[in-house]
Structures are given as C-alpha cells and as structure tokens.
C-alpha cells in the first residue's frame, strides 16, 4: 500500500453502543476508534459477543449509538439525517449478512430480492433496463439469469450468499460491511465467495469492513486488522505486522488459538489463555496508542515500555531466523 495521502472513507470516533432493557443497560461497544481508508479491506476480529457485529450494524444505522461519531466521507451519519441524505447513504453503503438463509425473504423470488434496492431508488429508466441489471448482477456472481423466478429455498448455501452479494452490488455502493459473510458457508465454497468479493473490490474500487472470527480467512482477505475484545479495540495493525508482531496479550492468545495443520506442533503447543483478572493493570487508564507506524495497541505508559522491549526482541528473533 502506498502510505501517502490515503483518503479516509470512514472514521469512527469514541463510538459507544448501549443496549437498554427496562432499567438495565449494557455497553456492548466501548470507546471504539478506527479509520478505514478508501480501497482497503479493514477487518474486525474478535470472539463471539465481543461487539463486532454491533459496530457494523451501528455504522449502517441498524443500531443506535449512545456516544461518539461515525463520519462517512466527512459527514457525521449517526445523527438524524434528512431523507435525501439517508437515501444517498443507503445507496453508497451496503451490507452482506452472515446467514444467507435468514437474510433472504423466503416468500419472494430472486428477481424481487435483487431488485428490491433498485425499486426503492428507481435506479432504472424502464422495465427493460431493470431486467438487464438483474441479469447482469446474477451473471456477475456466477448465477444464471434463469434463476430469477426461483425462490431462495431452492438454492444451496453458497448460491444464496452470492444472491446476497448480488443484491448489495447491484446498488453500486462504495463501502460494504461484510458481517461474517462466509461463516455460515461450507468450507468448500468459502474461497469462491471470498474470491468473488475480491473481484468486486478490484473491479469497482470498493472498501470493505470485514467482520470475522476466522483468523486464517482474515489474513488472506484483509489489509488491516482490528482486534476487538469485550467491546474494546485492543490492537490495530496491518495484517502482516499483526501476525508477525502481536503485542497485546489478547491478540497473542487469539492468534495462538488458530489450529496448526501439523498434529505434532499442535499437541506440543502451549496454550496462552487470556485472563484479564491475572493481568497487571496498574498505572493510569490505558488508551489505544500508536507504538510503531500504523500499529496501535490499547495500553498505558508502563505497558508501552514493556511492549517496546517485546517488539524489539521479536524483530531480532525474526531477523536471526531469516539468516
């Protein structure tokens, strides 16, 4: 990536999402900050319940935010928007959902599913253009135009997810939130869907926010990664940096949890279990701070000193093993 003059497409500042149930409230997302540059794939990784999906949904406006700003192309979007503004935003920002079986209307034909957005924004001049757009959308995801009159339950999981992608792509968006798009899919077709998403990224210069928990997929697919734990971002780094030099203990245990395809290594591997109660949390309140360029860690001054030593050691080890 060229580092100079990267245009920020989405800027999330001090985002907080609170769910209120009667009088009890639960903060699912706490003080989250990140920037997404135009044309990159930014991944949010964390265990289930960590708030990844909530962040994605807050950005697209499905969840209300209780604090902080979401700034898309220089405009704050988590406030009350005028009809025209929210219309424009909906066109530019689309979402790919996790479960293709649940996210398609079972009682509507594929043609209706794909044309739903087109109809809402009248993105066609006449019926002929609309049908052409539907046909092209189906072809672009490897489906056949004859599938138009079929119902979602007649398709396989991978085909359904491709319908979900076609539905988002037909709107010609700039920014896509992909909420675990492949975790409900069979392993054999995951690559197909990911390659399809990459194809669209190259063809149309899309920006992705990729939400996932599968680290090997994230490593293959994304440019930068944010690791999230209990609603808080603990580390942000470019993909290879994060895998080479994980600093925060949670990131380290997360990376280590990826199973090795070698049973001997896998068996002898000593597991790092992240337990916040056993950590030394002395010192002032930690914050997300830059340790080296583009590498942010959630830490305070004392931890920063520790991480710097650790980082140096890791770099040295790497160099030695490369020799």
């Amino acid at each position: 990536m060229t580092e100079i003059n990267r245009e920020i497409i989405l800027d999330v500042k001090h985002l907080e999402v609170t769910f209120v149930n009667n009088k009890k409230s639960f903060r699912a997302v706490k003080d989250v900050n990140f920037e997404i540059y135009k044309g990159e794939t930014f991944a949010l990784v964390g265990e289930s319940g960590s708030g990844k999906t909530t962040i994605g949904r807050a950005i697209i406006g499905l969840n209300d935010t209780s604090n902080g700003d979401i700034i898309y192309k220089g405009k704050k979007i988590n406030t009350h928007l005028s009809k025209q503004e929210s219309k424009d935003l909906t066109r530019q920002m689309q979402m790919i959902f996790q479960d293709p079986a649940a996210s398609l209307n079972e009682r509507a034909t594929i043609s209706y599913c794909i044309a739903e957005g087109l109809d809402n924004f009248k993105l066609y001049k006449d019926e002929k253009e609309k049908q052409e757009k539907i046909d092209n959308a189906l072809k672009s995801v490897g489906l056949l135009p004859e599938h138009k009159s079929r119902y979602p339950h007649e398709f396989s999981g991978g085909q359904r997810q491709r319908v979900g992608i076609a539905r988002a792509m037909v709107m010609e968006p700039d920014f896509i939130i992909a909420d675990e798009p492949i975790s409900a899919l069979d392993v054999s077709i995951r690559a197909q869907v990911l390659n399809l998403m990459n194809k669209f990224k190259e063809e149309r210069g899309l920006t992705y926010l990729f939400i996932a928990h599968d680290l090997s997929v994230v490593r293959y697919f994304s440019d930068r990664i944010a690791v999230i734990h209990k609603g808080r971002i603990v580390e942000i780094a470019p993909t290879e940096d994060l895998f080479a030099y994980p600093l925060h203990p949670y990131t380290r245990s997360l990376l280590q949890s990826v199973p090795m395809p070698d049973p001997r290594i896998e068996k002898s591997k000593e597991l790092l279990i992240y337990d916040e109660s056993k950590r030394d949390l002395s010192g002032e309140k930690p914050k997300l701070r830059e340790i080296v360029k583009d590498h942010y860690v959630f830490m305070n001054d004392r931890e920063k000193a520790e991480y710097e030593i650790k980082l140096e050691k890791m770099i040295k080890d790497k160099e030695e093993s490369n020799k």
């Binding site: 499905l62 079972e106 079929r150 539905r167």
Partner: protein
C-alpha cells in the same frame, strides 16, 4: 515396450469446464399457489367437506331467490291442514306451526346467518390485520394499543353485543356492527404477536439496509408469512360468528321476527323437540353442517398455505 504405450503430455488435452452447468437447478419451478392447491386437494376429507360447503353456500344464496321466502308471510295461519306436516316430497323439511315451508325457511335463515358471519369476518379480518401489522411493527403504537386491548378485552363480549343491539334496535346490519365493533381487536392482537415473531428476522434488516420503507417491509416481507395464520383465523371466525348469531337469537337479543335466521328458527322450534323433532333437528343439523364444513375446509387450506407443508 512398444512405442504406442508411451504416455506423453501430447496425449492429453485440457478439458474446458463449464462453471455455469453446476449452477443449474434441475428441480421443477416452485409456485406458491400451485403447491397450496396441490396440498389441499391431496386431502380426501377436505374435498368432501368442500363439496358440502359449496352445496350449502349455493343453496342458501340461490334457493331464497327462487322461493322468494318471506318470514312474515303467514298465509296458512288459519289453515290447520298445513300445520306440522312431516317431511315429504312436497315439503322436504315439513312445515311449522303456522304452515310455513321449513325447507324455504331454513335456506333463507342460512343465508342470513352466513351473510352476517362472512361480512363480520371480513370486517374483523381486514381491520384486525392492518391494525395488527402496524401494532406489531411499531413499539410506539404498541404502548398505546396494549392498553386499549386490555380495556376492551376485559369487558364481556356478550354484554357489548347486547347493549349495542338494544340501543341500535335489531337488524342484520346492527348485528354485524355489534359483532365486529370490538372483535377486530382480538384479531389485531393475534396478528401483532405473529408480526413480533418475524419482525426482527435478518431479512427485514436486509430490506432496511436496501432502503425499503416500513410499509413495503410490512406488505412484502411480513404479510406473506401471515397468510396461513390468517386463513386459520378466518376458518375459526366464520363458524364462530355463525354460532354466535345462533346463540344471540336464541337468547333473544339477535334478530327480530322480520327475517329468518338459523338462530331464530332453532329458538322458536326448540319447544317442539319432542312433539315434532324434525322442526328442531333439521335446522340444528344444517347449522352444524355449515360450521363443520367451513372449519375443516379452512383448516386444511391453512395447512396447505404454509410452505413448510409443501415439501414432499
């Protein structure tokens, strides 16, 4: 080794794989309504009941047009030879205490009762469904409507109907108003619960992300899922209103003597249960026939309209 047996790269050529071939769906196209009728007509009892239902409905709407039955026409009131005639070819259901033909009277009565039940069901279902869908969808409406529901549903239905029919005097349209003026809220509540179950499913969120308006989501995403519960509801409501009309006429708050209705026929002839049982048994049997056939046809149709029953 001979030369022919040597395998080299030249003996192979690339096979072009047609990716689109694997995407073809071989199964015949699914059509919702076709599957509904296929499932419905696979039940023999339903077909039998449908025939009975159509016969009863056609009889009660066509026969009174031919017989021109008038409940107040008592031409034979002084001719004792026309009273209490047993069922015969001339009078298939016999005659009553003033010499009126029971066959004409029963079908005219069935017409009135069916008309009241169908119109009341129609009003209840249309209002109840529209209100229920918005009620279930919007949390703001819910807060208000749940209180209205609590108040209305705690007042006995019979009391409301009795007061309305006393104040508005008796008549077909007054009875329809009395039956449907509060019962729509029951349907609305039922629909509200169904809507709440499917309201937060992911495909509704997807529609929202695609910019669909609330009314579009309600009518395209939620309404199709309600068809089978609506049919269930209708198939329960029609017999319910028929028996309610019978009950109200029986206790004397329903219709007046001006029009024949099944309820009135049963009520006036109840006293002949032993002396001339056909006067009582036949109208009751016709009432039961209407209720049972409508109910079974409706229930089978409700099952058939649920796509989960379409898989073979």
């Amino acid at each position: 080794m001979s030369k022919e047996n040597i395998i080299s790269n030249d003996s192979f050529e690339f096979y072009k794989v047609d990716d689109s071939a694997s995407e073809v769906i071989a199964a015949p196209e699914y059509s919702y309504w076709k599957s509904v009728f296929k499932t419905f007509f696979s039940s023999k009892i339903a077909i039998f009941m449908l025939v009975i239902m159509l016969f009863v409905i056609l009889m009660s709407f066509i026969h009174p047009l031919i017989s021109k039955y008038d409940n107040q026409n008592m031409a034979y009131i002084n001719d004792s030879s026309k009273w209490y005639l047993r069922p015969s070819l001339e009078h298939p259901f016999g005659t009553d205490d003033v010499g009126r033909d029971m066959f004409d009277m029963v079908w005219a009565g069935a017409r009135t009762s069916l008309f009241i039940a169908i119109v009341s069901t129609l009003i209840t279902t249309v209002i109840g469904t529209i209100v229920g869908m918005f009620w279930g969808f919007s949390k703001k409406i819910d807060v208000f409507m749940i209180e209205v529901y609590n108040i209305v549903s705690n007042v006995p239905f019979t009391l409301i109907v009795m007061i309305i029919s006393f104040t508005l005097s008796s008549g077909v349209w007054q009875l329809i108003f009395a039956l449907s003026c509060t019962s729509w809220i029951g349907t609305a509540y039922f629909i509200r619960v169904q809507v709440m179950i499917i309201r937060d499913r992911e495909y509704n969120l997807a529609s929202k992300c695609l910019g669909s308006s609330t009314s579009k989501i309600i009518f395209h995403n939620i309404f199709p899922y309600l068809i089978s519960v609506l049919v269930t509801n209708i198939s329960r409501d029609v017999p319910h209103f028929i028996s309610y009309e019978v009950f109200l006429s029986y206790i004397g708050v329903g219709l007046s003597e001006k029009v024949a209705s099944l309820g009135r026929i049963v009520q006036t002839n109840a006293k002949y249960m032993q002396s001339a049982p056909y006067l009582f048994v036949i109208p009751v049997f016709v009432t039961a026939l209407i209720s049972v056939s409508l109910y079974i046809v409706g229930q089978t149709l409700a099952d058939a309209s649920d796509p989960r029953n379409h898989m073979i």
